[in-house]
């Protein structure tokens, strides 16, 4: 062995007394970890290929398998953890940029977990969602407008376009190409059934999914992949992607190996070419340019569809959002530094951007101070992990949340974080037909519906406890939140008091 050798991260533990050598694990593993040794009549494993996706574990009929973290470790060093050393070995060997998938896994603060929610006691009643109406519907879009009346004094009830959501949750942008046809089908069908929206990402919209247009947000990103007239017209809203939480400052990258067949046609680029989006939009070098693209898209869609501008949460996010709110955008979407991705340079993913909780709090406050909060709706993502996170986000000031990773987990993702390999054993982040068909859209959409409905029930319970029967009365209602274990500065930015205050 050489200095490049890295001991496998995981060990495949097979209970020989249970294993019946049925070879299911072998057939299920696209990474080719398992194989059958005919001479000895037993299954063997090459754990160096294992990504710990748990496909074999979940499908082993005799529960003979488990994957554990290897305990073969270098001498402990708080400054030089093993992962850091291994990354240096890899780079010294390859000379390349390290790639990672899904959101930042490092132990940075998760503010959601340091925020607690209020409940009514004595002075006002909690409301029982099983017995009283409890409203979770929200409308996204610009609210600020003059009240006009006709000659008889009747209200003129015309409004700028709004997106109606039965619950303030949407599926965030994940492109066809980065995820599979069946994953997209599951998201589109679930969004339609739930009365919410999903988002195409920057990979275009497959012709089969035009029927779900009323529940679709189409994205216009810096590569302009898949953007054409019908695409814009098919959607309920158009999202301009300026940035992504997992990789602020750079564009998307889909390797040529994933650009096959329908993916190529939908993106409108040749098969096998890398789809590399530019880091900036080359027609947007400043805020006044953004305004032009916003209005170009509004012209193209006859002012019938809200335009969303999606940005990554970065240091100056409050001022950036303030600029966007004056640019004609109807909705601002902010993606936090824990947002997921199909592939991002590791250093960028782990070190660039700021937590969504702080970004949301400062943007909402800034827009209010400038008196323009009702110019736009605010949607936040990256990462929203539970109904409690949704409630906290709304109370901090969000109109709605985007969920990406949570939706993929509902579809079967086990967060092995190797999407960039294209060999997703769960049929999600892959274009290999044999793997894609493992995700059944009938089941996938049902699981997404279950997840969102379950969260909706929980949101209602939490709201009822606070004596709030419409989620509109929770938006920006920061008195309903308290911090625990946060310092003065963090509390000040979040605009909440400490527990006990």
């Amino acid at each position: 062995m050489s200095i490049e050798f890295i001991y496998p991260e995981f060990e495949v533990i097979r209970n020989e007394s249970r294993c019946i050598a049925c070879r299911v694990c072998e057939r299920q593993c696209a990474n080719e970890v398992h194989s059958y040794d005919p001479e000895r009549g037993i299954m063997v494993a090459d754990e160096s290929k294992c990504v710990n996706c748990h496909r074999c574990v979940a499908l082993c009929p005799t529960r003979a398998l488990k994957i554990v973290k290897s305990d073969c470790a270098l001498r402990e060093n708080a400054n030089w953890p093993q992962s850091t050393i291994n990354e240096i070995y890899k780079q010294a060997s390859s000379g390349g940029v390290l790639l990672s998938s899904m959101g930042n896994p490092n132990p940075l603060p998760v503010y959601w977990d340091k925020i607690l929610i209020n409940a009514s006691q004595v002075t006002n009643p909690s409301i029982d969602p099983l017995r009283e109406p409890m409203e979770t519907k929200v409308c996204l879009g610009k609210k600020k407008q003059e009240i006009r009346r006709d000659e008889n004094g009747k209200l003129v009830c015309e409004m700028t376009p709004q997106l109606e959501l039965s619950v303030p949750i949407m599926f965030s942008a994940m492109s066809y190409g980065s995820i599979s046809y069946n994953a997209h089908a599951s998201l589109a069908r679930a969004a339609t059934e739930l009365g919410i929206l999903y988002n195409t990402g920057e990979g275009g919209l497959h012709e089969d999914f035009y029927v779900y247009g009323a529940n679709t947000i189409v994205q216009v990103a810096s590569g302009r992949f898949g953007v054409h007239k019908d695409y814009l017209e098919a959607a309920a809203a158009v999202e301009i992607k300026m940035g992504q939480g997992a990789k602020p400052g750079i564009g998307g990258h889909l390797p040529g190996a994933k650009i096959v067949g329908d993916v190529s046609r939908t993106r409108m680029i040749p098969e096998g070419t890398d789809a590399i989006s530019p880091a900036p939009h080359h027609d947007i070098y400043s805020i006044e340019d953004l305004r032009q693209l916003v209005y170009s898209l509004k012209e193209a869609t006859e002012y019938k569809k809200p335009v969303i501008v999606k940005v990554a949460a970065v240091h100056n996010i409050a001022a950036i959002a303030s600029g966007i709110a004056r640019s004609g955008a109807d909705i601002i979407s902010i993606d936090g530094f824990r947002g997921g991705t199909g592939a991002a340079p590791t250093r960028i993913r782990n070190n660039v951007g700021i937590p969504i909780e702080l970004a949301l709090a400062s943007v909402d406050q800034r827009l209010r101070e400038e008196g323009i909060r009702d110019n736009v709706s605010l949607v936040v993502g990256g990462s929203i992990r539970s109904s409690a996170d949704v409630v906290k986000a709304v109370a901090l000031g969000a109109d709605a949340c985007y969920i990406g990773t949570a939706a993929l987990i509902a579809l079967g993702c086990h967060l092995c974080r190797t999407c960039h390999s294209g060999k997703c054993n769960w049929g999600i982040a892959t274009q290999r037909p044999d793997l894609v068909k493992r995700l059944n859209p009938d089941i996938g959409s049902k699981r997404l519906i279950n997840l969102v409905r379950a969260w909706q029930h929980e949101i209602k319970e939490l709201m009822g406890g606070m004596g709030i029967n419409s989620i509109e009365a929770l938006r920006g209602n920061r008195l309903m939140l308290r911090g625990v274990g946060l310092n003065e500065k963090e509390l000040q930015i979040l605009g909440i008091s400490h527990a006990g205050e």
């Binding site: 006002n124 009283e132 109406p133 419409s470 009365a473 929770l474 920006g476 209602n477 920061r478």
Partner: protein, 364 residues
């Protein structure tokens, strides 16, 4: 301990109101008596009244009722007022000593009219100018507080039980065509007179019973438009919401009620009248942050009328009764019966159902 305004203090309460559709005057004694059977709904930490039509001789002037901590703060504030208003009368508000009311601040009233030159230079209409001046004093001058700022109306409030507050302010000597009253049951001890109700801005006054759960959502929204919630009370924020919707945005009382106590989406969806449905969707979509949830019953007084409104689940008691030209509203029927033993058509309005009473044109 932190004072009201530095901390939010929820409270339960008693409210009552009476109005004559014919504009007939009633002395403050009537409404005072209404509060007596509801004594236990207050705890002595705040009581107050608003009377409309009480200053007929100064009806064209804004009546500023003020609390001052000291003679110096009064002098300082008066200098500020003189830069902005012509002051036609300046006097102590008459009070009578009663053992139940102590620690009173300096209580003063001014009848004023804005200086035309200042109005023109600021390019503001008169009401907006007065509203902003009140905000400025209440947020900027630590020891001065405007607690009433309408024309031909006035608020009287103190720390104490309502009936004692009435005696203190000699309300039996005032005559108005409309009165509202409030007894407070705060869950903390602010001991501050400004924190008592009614809360007023211009000729809006609100008495309110409840603790709204939407408070911070409403506050953070309304503060975008120049209002400053210095007291952190529900009543204050509801007053500003009403002022914004009706005076600034130009909604009618009914429409404002539909925003504040909006019908449920399910109710709107099942509406058969298409126009009504469109209107309700319009109002809910445009003003989602002004929906008020949690328990409340309020009486909103204004020149020439009042509106009573419950939260949409009717989580607080409120009854209405009538007799001849008079309409009575109170937290409890007993209060109505005290004012008018033979009150008729006594009913409890449904949650979100606004009861709007106007005095005949020309009678106020």
């Amino acid at each position: 301990m932190r004072l009201e305004g530095q901390v939010r203090i929820p409270s339960g309460c008693a409210i009552a109101a009476v109005i004559s559709r014919e504009g007939r005057k009633m002395s403050g004694e009537l409404i005072t008596n209404a509060m007596k059977p509801m004594h236990d709904r207050s705890n002595g930490l705040g009581g107050g009244f608003a009377g409309y039509g009480i200053y007929p001789e100064y009806k064209d002037f804004y009546a500023l009722h003020m609390f001052f901590d000291s003679r110096e703060s009064r002098k300082e504030c008066e200098a500020f007022l003189k830069e902005r208003f012509e002051i036609v009368k300046s006097e102590n508000i008459p009070t009578r000593k009663t053992p139940a009311i102590t620690d009173e601040p300096i209580i003063w009233r001014y009848f004023v009219t804005p200086l035309k030159s200042v109005l023109e230079s600021m390019q503001l209409d008169e009401k907006e100018f007065v509203a902003r001046t009140v905000m400025k004093i209440n947020t900027g001058m630590k020891n001065s507080f405007v607690f009433s700022s309408g024309k031909n109306m006035g608020t009287f409030k103190a720390v104490g039980f309502p009936e004692d507050v009435s005696e203190f302010y000699r309300l039996e000597e005032y005559e108005g065509y409309c009165w509202t009253a409030h007894g407070r049951y705060p869950t903390n001890t602010p001991g501050w007179w400004g924190g008592a109700h009614p809360f007023t801005l211009l000729d809006w006054s609100i008495v309110h019973n409840g603790e709204i759960s939407s408070y911070d959502a409403n506050r953070r929204f309304i503060e975008m438009f120049g209002y400053k919630c210095t007291l952190k009370t529900d009543t204050e924020v509801i007053t500003y919401i009403m002022d914004y919707l009706i005076r600034v945005k130009g909604l009618t009382l009914d429409e404002a009620a539909n925003v504040v106590a909006a019908p449920f989406w399910s109710t709107i969806d099942s509406m058969e009248d298409e126009e009504e449905k469109k209107k309700q969707i319009f109002l809910r979509t445009l003003f989602p942050s002004l929906l008020v949830t949690g328990p409340f019953s309020i009486v909103l007084g204004f020149s020439g009328g009042l509106m009573a409104l419950n939260d949409r689940l009717k989580l607080r008691s409120m009854v209405v009764g009538e007799k001849d030209d008079k309409v009575f509203i109170a937290s409890e029927e007993a209060a109505i019966r005290t004012m008018e033993p033979n009150a008729e058509n006594v009913w409890a309005p449904a949650g979100g159902e606004a009861v709007i009473v106007h005095v005949k044109d020309g009678c106020y």
